[in-house]
């Protein structure tokens, strides 16, 4: 639990995806010069590529709440519980 590294892929996907939505909204609203529209188009295509990369390269991260974490919080029931089983079962 404590050694959780960088933020999960969902966050970066969400960022890129909402930016992409923003680009689409701006383009749909219209009223842009051809030059501005072209720039938006280019950034939108980059965002779409980034989104696809995140989707295709992500792997599910699994973290098991450790007994010691819960113990510190005085939350853990007795030691006879199957909490303390070795990790090999939750692949």
């Amino acid at each position: 639990m404590t050694d959780t590294p960088a933020k999960p892929a969902a966050k970066s996907f969400e960022n890129s995806f909402s930016q992409l939505e923003d680009v689409v909204r701006k383009l749909e609203a219209g009223g842009l010069s051809l030059d501005d529209a072209t720039k938006l188009f280019e950034s939108g295509m980059k965002l779409a590529t980034k989104c696809n990369e995140i989707l295709s390269s992500s792997e599910l991260k699994i973290t098991r709440l450790q007994a010691n974490f819960a113990e510190q919080m005085n939350l853990v029931p007795g030691p006879e519980d199957d909490f303390d089983d070795p990790e090999d079962e939750d692949a």
């Binding site: 995806f17 939108g44 991260k61 819960a70 029931p77 199957d82």
Partner: protein, 414 residues
């Protein structure tokens, strides 16, 4: 007694008479020697219940055809479940109460009969929590669209967690799963589930939680009907998806949860979108952008073309200034013509004046024209030399003479 009786068995003499006690003791021993009757569980409805000051419980168990007389001594467990009409499961042994000649069921433990009693308690609590507002639709929180961190409260072993992880690995590998292990069955389960929810609330950045358990009997699932579990789910900081048992099982936990899933796998499908769908949305947006930019280019081109068209259309609009120009030109022409006319008139006037001032009239006023020998008009004295012929014309005639002397005023001309 046995010995006595056996020894008489083969004789044809009059039968020995046994005492009541002897027969009663024989029956009692026979009953007690049967192991099945010594460790017996019986289900039935309680009737004729008495609980005198001795603290023992006297009652009968019955079904629609038969009755068994029962007693449970003060030391027995579950006496609170006894009462006329209640459906119970008893454990004990069958024996004889010889003082009364009664066959009796000596009960040591009473439990409420599964479905009936549990269902009753369940309904009672469900109504109470409902009245308290724990199930209100209005407090159901929306699930996050793209969860980053998903807590899963379930047993760390077994099929449920595997099913959930399998589904998420396949559909939504963008998230981090935080497994909060707990037992999900038995007496310890409810307090452990409560602690798991407390641990959940102590964690940061969790977007949504799944509490799950595989299928089982009503008793197996009972922890999820406990009030403390219901209140723990209610107190969760994040939306909770419940997936307890099979689709047909509905527990109190399911009523309190923000969203109920029919199975643990379904919970994993509900908690997040399918990455393939997300890819589809991305592709859709890319196509939309492409379409818009294509349209923009076409629009720009057609705007240009329209501008050209408008210019062409505007040329007839210049009719008006052109008419004015034509008008002006016409007027200028007329003015010019008038100018020419007036000039001609003035010219004629000048001509007339000139005529009026003609040489004939001048000659009449004393001027003469001096002519060279060839008759042309002389304009300079230097045109003459001594002895040359010289003519003089008057207004009314002429004189011919000869030059006697030439005197030039300008020496250089000579």
């Amino acid at each position: 007694m046995t010995g006595n009786y056996d020894s008489q068995e083969d004789t044809s003499g009059p039968q020995t008479a046994y005492t009541v006690t002897a027969v009663s003791e024989y029956l009692k021993a026979s009953l007690e020697s049967d192991p099945r009757l010594a460790d017996l569980t019986v289900v039935g409805e309680v009737s004729g219940y008495r609980n005198p000051s001795s603290g023992h419980h006297y009652f009968a168990l019955r079904d629609d055809q038969s009755v068994i007389r029962c007693v449970m001594f003060r030391s027995g467990r579950g006496g609170q479940f006894l009462g006329d009409g209640s459906q119970v499961i008893c454990h004990g042994r069958i024996s004889m109460y010889t003082a009364r000649g009664d066959l009796q069921y000596y009960v040591d433990q009473v439990e409420p009969d599964g479905v009936g009693a549990l269902q009753q308690a369940y309904e009672e609590m469900r109504k109470r929590l409902e009245a308290e507002g724990l199930f209100d639709q209005g407090r159901k929180r929306p699930l996050p669209e793209l969860p980053s961190r998903i807590a899963v409260i379930t047993s760390p072993t077994g099929a449920v967690i595997q099913d959930i992880l399998n589904v998420l690995t396949r559909r939504y590998p963008l998230a981090e799963i935080i497994l909060i292990p707990t037992s999900v069955q038995g007496e310890k389960a409810a307090p452990e589930i409560v602690k798991a929810f407390q641990a959940l609330n102590a964690l940061d950045d969790i977007d949504v939680a799944i509490v799950a358990r595989g299928g089982g009997s009503l008793e197996d699932l009972w922890s999820f009907n406990e009030e403390i579990v219901a209140r723990a789910i209610f107190a969760s900081n994040v939306p909770v998806i419940s997936a307890i048992g099979h689709e047909t099982d509905t527990t109190i936990a399911d009523y309190v949860a923000d969203k109920r899933a029919p199975t643990p796998s379904a919970a994993a499908e509900i908690v997040a979108p399918d990455a393939r769908d997300l890819g589809g949305y991305v592709a859709g947006y890319a196509a939309r952008i492409d379409e818009i930019i294509g349209r923009n280019v076409r629009d720009s081109r057609s705007q240009f073309e329209m501008a050209v068209d408008r210019m062409n259309l505007r040329i007839p609009d210049t009719k008006l200034p052109r008419q004015r120009i034509d008008d002006l030109l016409t007027r200028a022409q007329l003015a010019g013509q008038r100018l020419v006319e007036s000039s001609k008139q003035r010219l004629a006037t000048v001509e007339a004046s000139l005529n009026a001032l003609g040489p004939a009239k001048i000659l009449g006023r004393g001027y003469t024209i001096t002519r060279l020998g060839d008759g042309s008009a002389a304009t300079s004295a230097s045109q003459f030399a001594t002895g040359d012929k010289l003519g003089v014309t008057f207004g009314d005639g002429s004189v011919e003479t000869t030059v006697d002397e030439v005197e030039s005023r300008n020496a250089t001309d000579s």
